[in-house]
Symmetry: C2
Subunit: 206 residues, 2 copies
């Protein structure tokens, strides 16, 4: 059938594209409907047709972001790679966000957490939970087959990785310096890799 396909993304998703960038660079309380509308050459009223309230738009933003992230994690799982390489690929997801001069959306929202409407809060928590669950799985298997070595539980270690990478993004952004992130992320993960076998790839590319 067809009708029109997806040649040009529909307005609703282009709205999210612009709002997403503003959210990740300026924060939820740092951009307005007027900002998004101006960039798309629409009116504020038109935006309200697509997203009745800013809170609704915020929920849609997190949902889409979390879905993309989840898809990226599935992509990593689809590749036949060992645990250390999976962790490196995971860190690379963060590096790519930072390369676009953006903060992780949910890291940004974590800072503003107390100002967010409840549905957005829950979605932020859900994002971190999902990430930690994935990491916990990788860490558990990696330790089992001897590729990883770390003290404490896999769940605790997953929390440390998530918060370590979020913090590395947070601090690197004011300096506008990717190498700060690379150094912190690399140091964070290299402590987890068992020293025995010959390692293949670097923790972070570029």
């Amino acid at each position: 059938m067809a009708s029109r396909g997806q040649r040009a993304a529909d307005t609703a998703s282009r709205v999210l594209d612009v709002a997403e960038r503003l959210l990740q660079t300026r924060g939820y309380n740092g951009f307005s409907y007027a900002d998004v509308a101006a960039e798309l050459k629409l009116t504020k009223a038109s935006l309200h047709y697509h997203y009745a309230s800013k809170a609704t738009m915020g929920e849609a933003l997190i949902t889409r972001y979390a879905s993309r992230f989840a898809a990226a994690l599935e992509q990593i799982d689809a590749r036949p790679i060992d645990a250390p390489t999976k962790l490196a690929a995971y860190a690379r997801l963060y590096a790519e966000v930072l390369r676009g001069k953006r903060m992780c959306m949910c890291g940004m929202l974590a800072a503003e957490y107390r100002t967010l409407p409840k549905p957005m809060r829950d979605a932020v928590i859900g994002f971190f939970d999902d990430n930690e669950a994935w990491l916990t799985n990788v860490l558990t298997r990696g330790r089992e087959d001897g590729m990883l070595r770390f003290a404490g539980s896999p769940a605790e270690t997953a929390q440390m990785i998530v918060s370590g990478l979020e913090g590395a993004m947070l601090v690197a952004r004011p300096y506008d310096d990717m190498s700060r992130f690379q150094a912190a992320a690399g140091r964070l993960l290299e402590n987890l890799v068992a020293p025995d076998p010959r390692r293949v790839g670097r923790i972070t590319s570029n």
Copy 2:
């Protein structure tokens, strides 16, 4: 001299006290003069007498916060303790902020960095630079006398510590869970302590 002493803090500093808490919990773009005025039972106009603009108030907030932090670091240096214990004391400074359900002021401002006036941006960078300089010194001496062991430069490791602790606060706050911070911070620092000598204190208290 004398006149009145400091019995009740003067209005200017009580303004900063309230604004500081709002900034650390809601972010710079998440509170207003009206919020501060209401809490102190003053009018917005009175606040403008003490701080002509919100940007001016913001600068004063960072300056005072950074001074306090610097004083706390001097306190640590005044004690006759080894490098691992200094690092533990450093992490405890962050833990105390988090216990008050606050984010590190400059971590919060790092998230909102792109929306800040230039003087505030510079002050945020200065805070991180000072912290990393202090840590770099501790790390350098600690490695020299064999109490610490880490790969990479002291400066890089200092960056990892700062960003790791900032991230641990950032993520722990939505969960309102101190133990998340304690776990991440503890894991972060224990990788730096040389295994040889008998260790004394835990990384974080409480």
